[in-house]
Structures are given as structure tokens and as C-alpha cells.
């Protein structure tokens, strides 16, 4: 792996996770009225966003010019991504203040969370378009966009699902079944992205064929790790945790919940390392 890619791996994973956790947690908290329940996961979203932005600054060779990076909104997806990152951060912060002060009614705050979610959703799209407009044929495909959305959705559902199982006191976890269904759907989306990317690589010229050879050869372990870890996390540990909870075997559920987060996050990390490591550029 090229160490120069590390900040980008951290940035994309952190921001996609932040968007996914934000959207899923707002859906889970839609009907909640208590401050504690509505605040759940918001600080995690902020922490991931800050970590991602710090990492992205490390990618720049001359970060002192960072303020100029929003100058080419007309054609540059990177400019758009940066504007959307700032907007998502600002909207998250305003939402955090709203929730902590319990400003307005629940409907108003839900409305704000919809707006913030839309910004986050667009941010993930812009992020994918940065890669789709390079001279790396492996990235120029729609599977890049679907893969990024699947990452956000998988980590979002896994974290919020697990968070429900870590609740203290007598509080009953809510929305576990919809979260489980959502997690499996996001896993299916990720697997579809992986499969369609593989099919595309065979049709997109010699550089894409080289990428396919890298994925099938030296980096096969990353591909299999990504598939296996996310599948075990979302399709085995999630249903298992839900079943244990449904059968009131409460003591073992937090361990399962922690394990499923670790599996999904590690699987997505393997996939992202593979994404960067297997690129082959059209060049001389």
C-alpha cells in the first residue's frame, strides 16, 4: 500500500461512516422525544468528521492554500466535496445545538436532520465522482458510487444497531428488526457493487485488466477479507444478536454487538485499502 493513500483511506471511511451513522441514527430516533435518546450517536458523527478532515489535510502537499480549494465549483468534484463537507459539518453542529437545547419541537428538529442527511447523501456522491473522473479505469465505473453508499449504509446500520443493544437500564432497544433488514440490504448493495465492478474490469481496457489481475492475485486476501468480514458481521452476527435479544439472552448481546461493529469496519477497511492499492493509471 502506498502510504500517501492513508489520509484518503481515513478521510473517505470516516466521512462515509459519519454520514451513514447520522442518517441511520436520525431514522432510529425519529419518534423519540427524550433528549438523551435523540442525542445518541451525534458526538460520534462529529468525532468521525473531525478525524476525517484532519486526515484529509495531511494529504495536501501545501495545506496553507486549503482555503482556495472551493474555488472551482463549476467543474471540480473535489471543490464540491469540500463545500459539502463543510456544509455537512455546519448542519451537524446546528443540529447538535438544537438537540442539546431541545430547541423547537421534534418535527422541526427532524426536519433539520432531513436537510443534514441530504447534504451528507450528496457529499458521498461527490466523493465518488472525484474518483470517477480520474485516469484510473478501475475507478471510472458506477460501482465506485454504489460502493461508497454501501460503506456508509453498512457502517451506519451496524453502529446504530449495536448502539441499541448497549443501552443502559431497563430501556428496550428499538427498531432492531428494521436495522437488521437495512444492514443486510446494504451488504447486498456492497456485494452487487463488488460483482458489477469485477464484470466491468473485464471490459474496460488493459489497465482495468491489470487491476483485475491485482485483485485476483496479490491482493486477493484483501478482497476475500472484505467480503467475508462484512458478510459475517452483517449477515451472521447481526441476526444472531437480534435473535439473542428476542430470546432475552441479554448478557451475551453486547459482546456480539461489539464484534459485529469490528467485523463490518475491518471489512470495509480492507475494501478501501484494496480500492486504492489496485488502481492502475492510463499513462505513458
Amino acid at each position: 500500500m502506498n502510504m500517501h493513500d492513508l489520509p484518503l483511506i481515513i478521510y473517505t471511511l470516516c466521512l462515509q461512516s459519519a454520514v451513514g451513522i447520522y442518517i441511520v441514527s436520525r431514522m432510529a430516533a425519529w419518534t423519540e422525544t427524550s433528549k438523551a435518546k435523540r442525542m445518541r450517536h451525534l458526538w460520534l458523527v462529529g468525532g468521525l468528521g473531525v478525524a476525517g478532515v484532519i486526515a484529509s489535510a495531511l494529504h495536501m502537499g501545501y495545506p496553507w492554500n486549503a482555503v482556495l480549494t472551493m474555488s472551482n465549483l463549476g467543474t471540480s468534484w473535489l471543490s464540491r466535496e469540500i463545500v459539502l463537507t463543510v456544509s455537512f459539518g455546519a448542519a451537524w453542529l446546528i443540529g447538535l445545538v438544537f438537540e442539546s437545547k431541545e430547541a423547537g419541537n421534534v418535527e422541526t428538529r427532524n426536519g433539520w436532520s432531513v436537510l443534514t442527511s441530504l447534504i451528507g447523501f450528496t457529499l458521498v456522491f461527490a466523493m465518488s465522482m472525484i474518483y470517477r473522473t480520474t485516469a484510473f479505469p478501475a475507478w471510472e465505473h458506477a460501482s465506485t458510487t454504489f460502493g461508497f453508499y454501501a460503506t456508509a449504509g453498512l457502517i451506519g446500520t451496524a453502529v446504530v444497531f449495536a448502539g441499541q443493544l448497549f443501552q443502559k437500564g431497563e430501556e428496550e432497544p428499538k427498531a432492531l428488526l428494521p436495522l437488521l433488514i437495512g444492514g443486510v440490504a446494504m451488504l447486498a448493495l456492497q456485494m452487487m457493487a463488488v460483482a458489477s465492478h469485477g464484470a466491468y474490469l473485464g471490459t474496460a481496457g488493459p489497465e482495468a485488466a491489470e487491476t483485475a489481475a491485482l485483485i485476483a492475485g496479490p491482493y486477493a486476501v484483501l478482497q476475500w477479507a472484505r467480503v467475508a468480514l462484512t458478510a459475517i458481521g452483517a449477515a451472521i452476527f447481526m441476526p444472531l444478536a437480534w435473535r439473542q435479544w428476542a430470546q432475552k439472552k441479554v448478557t451475551s448481546v453486547p459482546a456480539l454487538a461489539g464484534a459485529l461493529i469490528a467485523l463490518v469496519v475491518l471489512g470495509e477497511l480492507a475494501g478501501r485499502v484494496l480500492f486504492y492499492a489496485s488502481r492502475v493509471k492510463i499513462g505513458l
Binding site: 502537499g61 501545501y62 492554500n65 480549494t69 472525484i130 480520474t134 481496457g205 488493459p206 493509471k281 492510463i282
Partner: protein, 200 residues
Amino acid sequence: MAKQLGFHVDARFCAGCKTCQIACKDRSSLEVGQLFRKVVKHEEGGWVKQDDAWVTNVTAYWLSVSCNHCENPACVKVCPTGAMHKRAEDGVVMVDQSRCVGCQSCVWACPYDAPQYNPDLGKVGKCDLCADRLAAGQRPVCVDACPYQLLSFGEIDKLEAEKGGTAAVAGLADPKRTQPSLRINPPKGAINAASGRDLK
């Protein structure tokens, strides 16, 4: 259409001496690993069956390539700061290093490896068609240096009318991607190579 400057390379006779590459590197004081002009060898072909016999269609040639000051430059499109820009008066693609943030988006986007990242500066540099020499009425240093005088520069339409050539040469990106201001008189086997290799 506004004036568009570009390069013409008569690759039929290029011996790969790399004098153009070295002259450019020397003028721009580039460190190891950075080249604004590259001379690259392209090889392809192998054994192919022809009726009852196996014959070779091996071909190899040199290509001298720098920034092609494309009509539709990918580097300019993706640059978030506007540092990478296309000069209106002559279509030369320039980088304003005072605005460059060193994100390397241009490096990723260019299919000709023209933008070169300078890790000491944390910024990108590239061929500016020797803008200072042009302003002084001189030719780019690579054009002056070629001992065979196979490199030319000027308005790309006039170069094409005078010398012919194409940018659709095996070993280079499909010109539809960025519409490079480059015309090459291709060596034998460079177009529609018998091996059936597609353009990138």
C-alpha cells in the same frame, strides 16, 4: 476558434536519444523522478497465426510526450483551486503554483502523466511550453534540442495541415478523453496494430 498551440512529433525517425527530455529537465531544474517531457518506448506484438504459419507482428518505437495542452484538459477540470488553468490567448495549460494546494487531483486525472508532483514544494509543476522563451520569441527548449529536428511546436491546426499526424497512437490515451494538442507522425505499426490492441 481561438489559437491553440501544441506539439508535433515525427516519431517515424525518433531514435530515443532523450535529448529533448534532458534539455527540458535541465531547464526546469527537476529533481530525480520528475520529468515534464518523457521519451517512452512502446512495444507490442507477438506470434500470430497466419494461415498455416506462425509469424511475428512485433513492433517497438519511441514516443516523446509532454503536456499536450489539451483542448479539454482533465487537469484543469479537476483542480479545486483553479491553479491549473488554460491560457485564453494561446491555449497553453499553465499551473499557478501560488494557488496549488498539492492535492494531486491533476496528477490522477491526466492520462499523459504531464503534471509532476514536487514533494519538496508540496506542489505540482508541468510543461508550460517554455512560456518565457515563447514571450522572448524563442522556441521551447525541447524543440531546439532535438538533434533530428523531429519536434515542432506552433498552432496545432497549421502543424497538422503542414506535417499531418494524429494523436490516436497506440501507447497513448484515447484522444477523445482530452483532445490533446499533439500530432504524431506514427511509426509503422503504431495505429491499428496487428495485435489488435485497443487505444487506452
